[in-house]
């Protein structure tokens, strides 16, 4: 009775206090100022850091489970070890991701209370789903990691299923968080006052949601691959034995292979995202591509150019450790020329940064010849040819130490070359034709270019796989003998891709300009100005630096438990061919 009385008294107190709470809430400011650096910069830095870690822990398990399945089906312990290594990296970064997420939430609640109240009014039901998914993912990943030895042998299928399940939970978390972010860019399901019209699904399923889901999913795999490859490169450079060097050379190669495979299709996902932004709001699309953000895409072009050239260079250096690859060396100079020209075209701006004298000499800020390379027709052509060339590099690397024994090998190779040439002709034709048609027609041409390249990739691989099945080997890959400079290339790729993610985050956020939720909730804070690229780049660099410092610290912490233990967690690192004289 006493207990019931206390509860009743508590309820009565709460009811009487509610109006007071409401008045307090009404007096709450729309914004608070974060000390020294301001609220916007605080949110920006923590959001970018959180996103980097989240991308890593969501991207790596996707290919880790695939590698585990390969090891399971082929009974090759190297893949099982590698998969475990990758998950170990993820595991170490898991709690940091969660901590940064919580910190971001506190910043929103504390410094942008009006914004957060509005977002809660729309997405409150999804918070519960998010929390449940987070629990589910955490426990599944724990079980996946700690149960590696327990669920081996005949129970391996259960272990693999846990890996698949943790990826499904992780992807669901990604999609849910994306719905909040994309709602801010392309709000849907709300009336003119910003109130939810029907169910929350309409707000989730906004214009940018699915394109961002696909884009981020692919980009996370690329990012995870580059970070894992950079980790391997770091271990390679510090290795004391040939065997260790061979192991981390192989790990770096796999990481880069994963990153490159996903990276090739990433621009297509970007096109889809861009198209949907235009479909949502033409003004937003035009502001993004031709307004104050137009120079951002030149920087993006430089970064992607570095990624393409770096990835190809790494493959070419890698071919040096493959006996039999000498016959493909002659293809490297023309491929380098195509990549270099493509890079230059893509990075050529429409309007040049020039001095007054130079402008007078050119007769304007558009160069009479190079100005033609600054438009989308030239850039689409360049990027598609670069993708095709990178794919060719990969095909040559793949068959470097293999000689096909099939009787139809000549025909097969002729068809492959013809398909690649035809795709290049289609890409170039529509690139040139694009100069003679109106922009609406020109935009449609990019679809033909993309389809030509994707079709070429599919057809060439469909021929290549059976053609090199049971091929004669010209020698074993000498893992660990790759030039050390290749490892710095892997590190540059990881740094560049992380920086690129920061830049794209700025683009996604910046296209909202002075809106928290575009067209619905205006940013009335003193920091509503969208900063110029120089300032944004400085922030991105500092945050990327902090990210890598944290990653190194976390990986170091993760490795502490294994110091002095050979084969921690029961996982004896397998020998890699070429790692020592015994295995040479």
């Amino acid at each position: 009775m006493v207990g019931a009385g206390l509860v009743l008294a508590g309820v009565a107190l709460l009811v009487t206090a509610l109006p007071a709470f409401a008045q307090e809430a009404a007096r709450e400011p729309a914004y608070r100022n974060f000390p020294w650096i301001g609220s916007r910069l605080a949110v920006w830095a923590v959001a970018q850091l959180h996103l980097n870690f989240a991308a890593f822990i969501l991207g790596v398990p996707i290919f880790a489970v695939i590698i585990e399945i390969i090891g399971w089906r082929t009974r090759d312990p190297r893949y099982d070890w590698l998969s475990h290594e990758f998950v170990k990296l993820t595991f170490a970064a898991f709690s940091t991701t969660a901590l940064l997420g919580a910190l971001l939430l506190f910043l929103f609640v504390g410094y942008y209370p009006k914004f957060w109240t509005y977002m809660t009014s729309i997405f409150f039901p999804t918070y519960w789903v998010y929390a449940l998914l987070f629990f589910a993912e955490t426990f599944t990943v724990y079980l996946w990691y700690y149960g590696w030895d327990w669920l081996s042998g005949s129970r391996k299928w259960i272990h693999v299923s846990l890996g698949v399940l943790s990826n499904l939970f992780g992807t669901a978390i990604l999609f849910l968080a994306n719905s909040w972010v994309t709602f801010m860019v392309s709000p849907a399901g709300v009336d003119e006052s910003g109130a939810l019209k029907g169910g929350v699904w309409a707000a989730i399923n906004n214009y940018a949601w699915m394109p961002i889901n696909i884009h981020r999913l692919i980009a996370n795999i690329v990012f995870g691959g580059t970070i894992a490859a950079a980790y391997a490169a770091f271990r390679f450079l510090g290795a004391r034995t040939d065997e260790e060097r061979a192991r981390y050379d192989w790990m770096g190669y796999i990481g880069n292979f994963v990153a490159l495979s996903a990276f090739i299709v990433l621009p297509f996902a970007g096109y889809y995202l861009g198209r949907e932004i235009y479909a949502f709001n033409q003004t937003m699309g035009i502001t993004m591509m031709g307004g104050f953000m137009s120079w951002l895409w030149i920087i993006q072009a430089i970064l992607i150019g570095v990624l393409f050239i770096g990835s190809n260079y790494y493959l070419w250096l890698g071919m040096e450790r493959i006996p039999g690859s000498e016959r493909y060396r002659k293809y490297v100079p023309p491929m380098l020329i195509i990549l270099a020209i493509g890079f230059m075209v893509w990075a050529t701006p429409r309007s040049m940064v020039v001095t007054l004298d130079e402008a007078r000499a050119m007769g304007g800020t558009h160069h009479p010849i190079l100005g033609f390379l600054g438009v989308m027709s030239a850039k689409n052509t360049a990027v598609n040819l670069m993708i095709l060339t990178t794919f060719l590099s990969f095909v040559l690397y793949r068959r470097a130490n293999r000689v096909s024994q099939k009787p139809w090998v000549k025909t097969g190779m002729a068809v492959q070359w013809a398909v690649i040439a035809l795709a290049a002709v289609i890409v170039t034709f529509y690139g040139v034709y694009g100069y003679f048609v109106e922009s609406l027609v020109r935009i449609g041409f990019s679809v033909y270019q993309v389809v030509a390249v994707l079709a070429a990739i599919v057809i060439v691989m469909a021929i290549d796989i059976p053609m090199f099945k049971g091929a004669r080997s010209t020698g074993v890959i000498r893992w660990g003998t790759i030039a050390p400079r290749s490892q710095y290339v892997l590190i540059i790729l990881a740094v560049t891709f992380t920086w690129l993610m920061g830049l794209m985050g700025f683009a996604r956020s910046g296209i909202r300009q002075h809106w928290h939720v575009y067209g619905v909730l205006r940013d009335t804070s003193a920091e509503a100005v969208t900063p110029a690229l120089g300032y944004a780049a400085n922030v991105i660099s500092v945050v990327t630096l902090v990210f890598f410092a944290l990653v190194m610290f976390i990986f170091w912490l993760g490795g502490l438990s294994e110091k002095g233990k050979a084969g921690a967690h029961g996982h004896v690192a397998p020998a890699i061919a070429g790692g020592s004289e015994d295995h040479g």
Binding site: G364, T524, A532, L533, S541, M552
Partner: protein, 267 residues
């Protein structure tokens, strides 16, 4: 001395990121500032001032120029040259001003053949023009070949009632601009003196002397020339394409109005 691997890797990472940051700081620096509000209610505004304000809104806050050109067929939207005259015959029984107002606040009511229905309502977010701004914009459109007779009362009172939840924290701009402030923009942020002389303000003779620009050119020309120097052509004897095309983005609406006000004093 042999550097540890960690130090070498850190140096590589810092150099790479430094290069990207360095380049990003080297290219043109353009900020996107929130648009300012124009309030004409309760003030005495001449048709010329109204058209001038409408012209500014057309090119800046209204973002009309992104799709609509004047004297040039657009791929996304119709050419607005002569729209002031055409509007009177566009919809039977509807006056030119009524048609134009309807086109601005309910753009899908009539779609010009051959163009997609992509125009957003200008009084709704994200453009969110207020009643005064819709009035000025209508006057500007009427001035394209028609007679300006639109009054503030013609604009529905509900126009611009929304505005994005947060309410705009914008400064009011009175028309015309402040010539004194405009002079500081001419000499400072606008950087006009880098190429133009103007009375007692010395300037490199890269472009024409503007000391008597208000005497020899119309306000309309001056306003357009600042925002679209290429589109307005180049004065004979001077190199084409030198004047930046970006003042519409780099100057705020107030700075632009102030600069124009200063230029109009150069007689």
């Amino acid at each position: 001395m042999r550097l540890p691997v960690g130090v070498k890797v850190a140096i590589v990472a810092i150099v790479v990121m430094g290069s990207y940051s360095g380049y990003a700081n080297y290219i043109p620096q353009i900020e996107s500032k929130p648009p300012q509000e124009l309030s004409l209610e309760g003030g005495n505004v001449t048709p010329a001032q109204l058209i001038k304000a409408g012209d500014e809104i057309y090119k800046t806050k209204g973002t009309c120029e992104i799709c609509h050109k004047i004297g040039q067929k657009g791929t996304r939207a119709p050419d607005l040259a002569g729209v002031g005259a055409r509007a009177a015959k566009a919809k039977p029984g509807m006056t030119a001003k009524a048609y134009l107002i309807e086109s601005l606040i309910n753009p899908n009511a009539v779609i010009v053949e051959g163009y997609p229905p992509i125009m957003p309502a200008v009084d709704k977010p994200p453009i969110a023009l207020n009643r005064s701004e819709v009035w000025a914009l209508t006057a500007f459109l009427q001035a394209q070949g028609g007679t300006v007779d639109v009054a503030l009362n013609d604009i529905p009172a509900t126009v611009g009632a929304g505005g994005g939840g947060g309410g705009a924290a914008a400064a009011a701009v009175t028309m015309p601009g402040d010539a004194k402030v405009g002079k500081t923009i001419y000499m400072g942020k606008g950087g006009c003196l880098a190429c133009h002389k103007a009375k007692d303000i010395p300037g490199t003779p890269v472009g024409p002397d503007l000391s008597q620009i208000a005497k020899i050119q119309t306000p309309d020309y001056i306003m357009k020339k600042i925002l679209d120097p290429k589109g307005m052509g180049t004065v004979a004897g001077f190199p084409p394409g030198v004047m930046p095309q970006t003042f519409g983005q780099t100057l705020t609406a107030k700075e632009y109005t102030d600069l124009v006000a200063f230029m109009l004093t150069l007689k």
